[in-house]
Every structure is written in C-alpha cells, then in structure tokens.
C-alpha cells in the first residue's frame, strides 16, 4: 500500500481510479496514526507523541519560529536540540543518562548546553585528599578542557555544631575531568576529617 500523489489521471476510467483512491485514503489513515491520534478516535489529529527522526543538520528558523529536533550530539548519540528564532545557535537540551549512586548519595544530571552536573557527599575527608569523583558515575566522562570545568565543595556536618565551634573552610584544587584535591583549613588541632558536599559541572567528553 503506497501513497500515490499523481492519481487519478484524466484518461483513467473509474474502475481503475477507485482502487487507487482507496489506497491513497488508506495510506493517509495509516500515516496519520504515526505520532497522531487516529481519525477513528476522539480528538483526531492531536499528537500522541513527538518522535523525532535524527537529522543530519539544523533546521532553518525564521524570526517567528523555533525548531525542536533530534540530531547526533555528544557521545555520538541522538539528542534533542532547540534552535531559537532567526537561526539562533542550536542548544542541546538532553543527555542520555541520569545516575544515582546511593553510596555517596551522588547524582548525575545535565543542563542545556550540554553540561553534565555531578554532585554528592564524601565523608571523612582529610587535608590534601584526592577525590576521584568520576568513578562514582560509570560511563560518564567529562571534557578535559579546563575552562569547561567547575568545582565547588562545602564542608558539612551530620550533627549540630561542635562546641566550641571548629572553624573549617575547604576548597578544591588540582581539578581535572576525573578528580579534585581537597585543601582543608582547620584551625583547631589535632586535625579531624570532615564531610563535604561536592558539585562538579563540565561538558561531556
């Protein structure tokens, strides 16, 4: 059953055209059920889903139009892209995974760009300890371009503040696409380990 846009011909008899017309109307009916509510159901013509076939390039957008489409993104996997009006710069909206590592209460998410967002909690960290954060997220690799990496760590506690308070500050250094090292300033002595929240944002490799 193939749709034929060139029938009937003016020289055709109706006994020829009738089957061609039926085939065309049937083709329209079947094609319309792809991503759309069927003609035979309530709300015919509404989208039931928006399944996007991977494109080789970006669509052209006018001043009153934007584009939502799929093309190959980072990691060579199809991703959803948004292109703003007047041929704006395409933005990758999606990434292929979300992860949760229960051991470290660590999450992997993403932002438009694309950017990968990694965060979690590391307990009992000592000064100059190197944290291999990427190992918490199997299959994730970040770009090694230093300007695309961001890291922020925050000391935290499970319980109320100790008394007297023990001032602590912590910063991350030696940041790479796989690890960072904690510089912990501890005023009191002897030094005690601390817990930290970490937040790393980078681009997919």
């Amino acid at each position: 059953m193939t749709y034929n846009a060139n029938i009937p011909l003016i020289s055709d008899f109706i006994r020829i055209s009738q089957l061609q017309l039926v085939n065309n109307f049937a083709s329209i009916f079947a094609a319309f059920t792809q991503n759309h509510q069927s003609f035979s159901l309530n709300n015919p013509g509404f989208h039931s889903a928006l399944e996007l076939i991977t494109q080789s390039g970006d669509p052209t957008t006018s001043s009153s139009q934007v584009g939502l489409y799929s093309k190959s993104g980072t990691s060579s996997q199809p991703q959803i892209f948004f292109r703003s009006s007047s041929n704006g710069t395409p933005i990758q909206l999606s990434f292929q995974s979300l992860q949760f590592n229960s051991t470290n209460n660590a999450y992997q998410s993403f932002m438009a760009g694309p950017y990968i967002v990694l965060f979690g909690r590391i307990n009992s960290v000592v000064n100059n300890q190197t944290i291999n954060y990427i190992s918490l997220f199997p299959g994730i690799s970040l770009s090694s371009t230093a300007t695309n990496l961001f890291c922020f760590i925050q000391p935290t506690l499970n319980t109320a503040l100790p008394s007297p308070p023990t001032p602590v500050s912590a910063t991350a250094y030696n940041l790479t696409n796989t690890s960072f090292t904690v510089n912990k300033s501890l005023i009191s002595s002897p030094e005690t380990p601390i817990d930290i929240f970490f937040l790393v944002i980078g681009q997919p490799a």
Binding site: Y3, N6, Q34, Q154, L157
Partner: protein, 207 residues
C-alpha cells in the same frame, strides 16, 4: 513562511459529479495533502514511516495552550522579554513550564529556582544574614536535600576572615523542608557577613 494551500477542497467529489470534473479536484486534494504532510514529516510516499516527524517547527503562539487529562502540550510563545521560547503544559492543564532560557520564577528580589532532569530542584540566590543563623525555605516540596553550597561576603582564606558554615536540616513536613545554615565566625571578625550566596539541590516530590 510558506503560502496557504488553497487548492485543497474537503467537499469533493459531489454526488452528481462526473469523473471528468472530479478528477482534477481529487488530484488537487492529494497533491495538497502530500505538500502539507511534507512539512516536518516523512513523506506519505514512504509506506513504512510516512507521517513520522523529521523535526518540529513551532509557530509562535499568541497565548498559552491548554492540555487535557491525558495530554502534554509543547508549544512556543513569547516570554517576558518578548523572545520566542519553548513551553510545556503538563497533563490536566497543570501550570505551564518554560523549557528554554532556563527559569526563572522569581521567589524574591535575590533568589530563584530552577530544575534539573531527574526531579532535581535547584534553589539559588542571596539572602541577608542575621546572626547567629539563617533559615532558607525551599520553593517546592522535596523528599531530600542532596547538597548545599554557600559563600559569604566575609569568607576568605586568611585566618582572620574565615567563616564557617555547617548546613543542617532542622525541620520537615509534608509541604516543605526547611534548611538551616549555622554560621560561626572566627576571632578577629568584628561583624557578621551581611549577605550569603547559596545553592541548594534537592530531590523533588511529596514526602
């Protein structure tokens, strides 16, 4: 912008038409359908995936669109800055969500929130400090606070300007969790920080 398809006539053929009349009408209709389906869709001539989308070019709408109980609506309209943006209306005509230009529903003059895929809520902004501690109320119900990061305008790396924040959840109910950060300042600091910048990531959901 493409011109309207005027050749399509939904009322043909008429019952008393002879084929010599209907033939051109039918041909015009089929060719109009072919032309219309070719916009953003795989051609009708493709018997396997004809009708699938190649892309979605969304004409800017003059107002928000509604959604039924079993329907999600994705559309484009102008945002507050008069720029075309992508919006989503969840099922059941739930509150509209702006997808592009991440954010922002202002909470007050200095804080805001957004979301990350994975049901993650991101609260961020600045808040005036009132010694010895402050409480930051999250903007939506969450099941767990996953991470908290702070900076103060009295922070620093020298001993005399170090500040000390220990995030701690102090209360929770079925509407909101509350988050408390206790600040302690080292000797030598004569004044508490006047402003705290914060970033909090939480798991969205009703407890």
């Amino acid at each position: 912008m493409t011109a309207p398809i005027n050749a399509y006539d939904p009322s043909i053929p008429q019952g008393d038409d002879v084929l010599s009349i209907s033939q051109k009408n039918l041909l015009d209709n089929f060719q109009s359908l072919t032309q219309a389906f070719a916009v953003d869709h795989v051609s009708l001539i493709n018997s396997v995936i004809g009708g699938n989308h190649n892309q979605a070019q969304l004409l800017v709408q003059s107002q928000s669109r509604a959604s039924a109980e079993n329907q999600m609506n994705i559309y484009t309209k102008l945002d507050e800055n008069k720029a075309p943006q992508l919006f989503m209306r969840p099922i059941g005509n739930a509150p509209e969500i702006q997808y592009t230009q991440y954010q922002i529903y202002p909470v007050n003059n200095s804080s805001a929130f957004s979301t990350l895929p994975g049901d993650l809520l991101v609260d961020f902004g600045s808040i005036a400090f009132a010694a010895p501690s402050i409480t930051i109320q999250l903007t939506a119900p969450v099941t767990q606070i996953l991470g908290c990061w702070f900076m103060t305008d009295a922070g620093g790396i020298t001993p005399n300007t170090q500040s000390n924040w220990f995030p701690q959840i102090i209360a929770a109910n079925k509407i909101n969790l509350f988050y408390k950060g206790n600040v302690d300042l080292e000797k030598g600091i004569s004044a508490a920080p006047s402003q705290v910048f914060f970033l909090i990531i939480s798991k969205l959901g009703v407890i």
